[in-house]
Amino acid sequence: MTESVITTDAVTVTAVDKVFEAAAGQVVALSGIDLVVEPGEFVSLIGPSGCGKSTLLRLIADLDTPSSGSVEVFGTSAHQARVDQKYGIAFQQAGLLPWRSVAANIALPLELHGSSSVETRERVAELIALVGLDDFGDRYPDELSGGMQQRVAIARALAKKPELLLMDEPFGALDEMTREYMQTELLRISAETGAAVVFVTHSIPEAVYLSDRVVVMSPRPGRIAAVVPMALGSTASRADDLREDGAFFEMITAVREALHGGAPASSARGVENR
């Protein structure tokens, strides 16, 4: 018994294929995917467009079902994990409800699952402080910048204290400055919450900066080409100066080479090198 508790991974993907039926025939989005994410671990999925990284995230979130193979989240099926609200999710678009204030947006998952209003208010106050949006609780999404909206979305994803956070290019629509700032904020937040994170991105520096491990994927059919562990110290201890560290550039090179199947190629199509 004790052993099984210890070995329960946050995410276990086993021999997963995903085939979409299209008008022109079958499209193999994912083929033979095996992946384990440990509790508290930060894992990025990176690869060119069409490599199935978002599809893989959607399978973990049970927004889609695999054609074969299995996806488990904390030892239960992905479906059960969704029903039990084991994960929080954030997309590239913040996806806030425009008619709800910041506080009400963050409270949405709590309200939907019947938290008492006192509980909800306390939790929302905590979350607003966590993502640094004090004084903005009464504002509406259209009054916020893109970065602030994304913070609200992250706070909302964390509302139910999930031990797994799924993020699909959450900073993809932000400008570079805001993006780097949000990355550092995310490291702090994930350290404070201790949640495991599966993070989809197409930016190599972003993946390197944030992750314990970077999963490099290749397209047609989508498969895992390499898993690169980041030898950069614990994610909790990282800060902006890491971006100018030699080890950081080494890791960027390692990920880039993995993207090109080991060969040091000049550029990867569809992947940002900035």
């Binding site: 979130a61 927004l63 969704r82 029903v83 609200q85 994960y87 999710i89 997309f91 678009q93 996806g95 409800l97 425009p98 008619w99 949405l108 998952p109 309200e111 939907l112 699952h113 509406y140 999404p141 259209d142």
Partner: protein
């Protein structure tokens, strides 16, 4: 909404933030200006137009300008403050019209409520089951092609056969049913469009929360439908008024504005200004009905934030 946008544009040049009250005053000003222009056009045509109107071939394309066909604005206005008839103790005309109008407004409101309820329920069912949408939507659209005049007497004769216990069908209910028949349509179509308006992202978010159809409806689809619903409700209000007036005429209901329009038109040869009074009353009715809905829209301001952005 549109008037406010129009009013805001020029003030950007003067680089002063337009206070909402000034924009509103401007909108009212333009409205008053429009009315004045209409009145001026009326009098100008009456002054300059040919006495027998303009006839091309057999068709009169412009009306006669005689006092019989087009009484002066001030005569029409003045007539409002004279008694309805020369009989002893007759009410003043505007009061008579107002009483009739309030009866019609009540019937139209009842029709509006029934129509809105039916429209919303239809939209809910159509949203819930795609099959229901493809089955019902063509019929809903077809329903509006049935001419009201043909329809009204049928409703009246059906209604007169309804008698359940102490409940007895009243004539005004036939009129309300016909009003609701016109009112439900924009609501059904508008609400369906609104319920279907949330984007995939929001729907997937609700799915990730693992909530069912009703909660998705309550927390996402219904609030998202508000910007679609308000114009539909306003249209339904105007339709309900038109439906009530026309149905009063074709079912011969006494006491409403529709009846007055017919009755006074019959007296127009002797008293041309009088015939315009119930028409003005009907216009006022439509404005009141649409205005009440606009008031509801002001209460739902938070649900319309995206309207300003787009």
């Amino acid at each position: 909404m549109q008037a406010a946008t129009v009013a805001r544009a020029p003030s950007r040049r003067t680089r002063t933030a337009p206070p909402a009250s000034r924009a509103r005053a401007r909108a009212w000003g333009f409205g008053a200006l429009g009315l004045a222009a209409l009145a001026a056009l009326w009098e100008l045509y009456k002054l300059l137009g040919p006495a027998d109107g303009l006839v091309i071939g057999e068709v009169r394309v412009l009306p006669r300008t005689s006092d019989l066909a087009m009484p002066h604005i001030w005569e029409t206005a003045g007539r409002l403050f004279e008694p309805v008839t020369r009989a002893e103790g007759a009410r003043v005309l505007w009061l008579e019209v107002a009483i009739a109008a309030s009866l019609t407004l009540g019937i139209a409101a009842a029709g509006w409520i029934v129509g809105v309820t039916v429209g919303l329920l239809l939209a809910l069912v159509m949203q819930r089951w795609r099959l229901a949408e493809s089955a019902a939507l063509p019929w809903i659209i077809l329903s509006q092609t049935v001419p009201l005049i043909a329809f009204a007497p049928v409703v009246k004769s059906w209604g007169s056969r309804i008698e359940i216990g102490a409940f007895e069908w009243q004539d005004w209910m036939s009129v309300a049913v016909i009003a609701s028949y016109l009112a439900f349509f924009p609501v059904a179509v508008g609400a369906l469009k609104g319920f279907q308006s949330p984007d995939r992202l929001h729907l997937e978010l609700m799915r990730s929360y693992s909530v069912g159809w009703w909660q998705t409806m309550r927390y996402l689809r219904i609030p998202a439908a508000v910007p679609y619903l308000l114009p539909a409700l306003r249209l339904a209000a105007a339709n309900a008024v038109v439906g009530a007036v026309v149905a009063e005429v074709s079912t011969g209901l006494q006491g409403g504005i529709g009846r007055l329009v017919i009755q006074y038109a019959g007296q127009a040869s002797g008293d041309p200004a009088k015939a315009w009074a119930p028409i003005l009353g009907a216009i006022a009715l439509g404005l009141i009905a649409a205005g009440s809905v606009a008031l509801m829209g002001a209460l739902a301001r938070n649900y319309r934030r995206t309207e300003d952005a787009s």
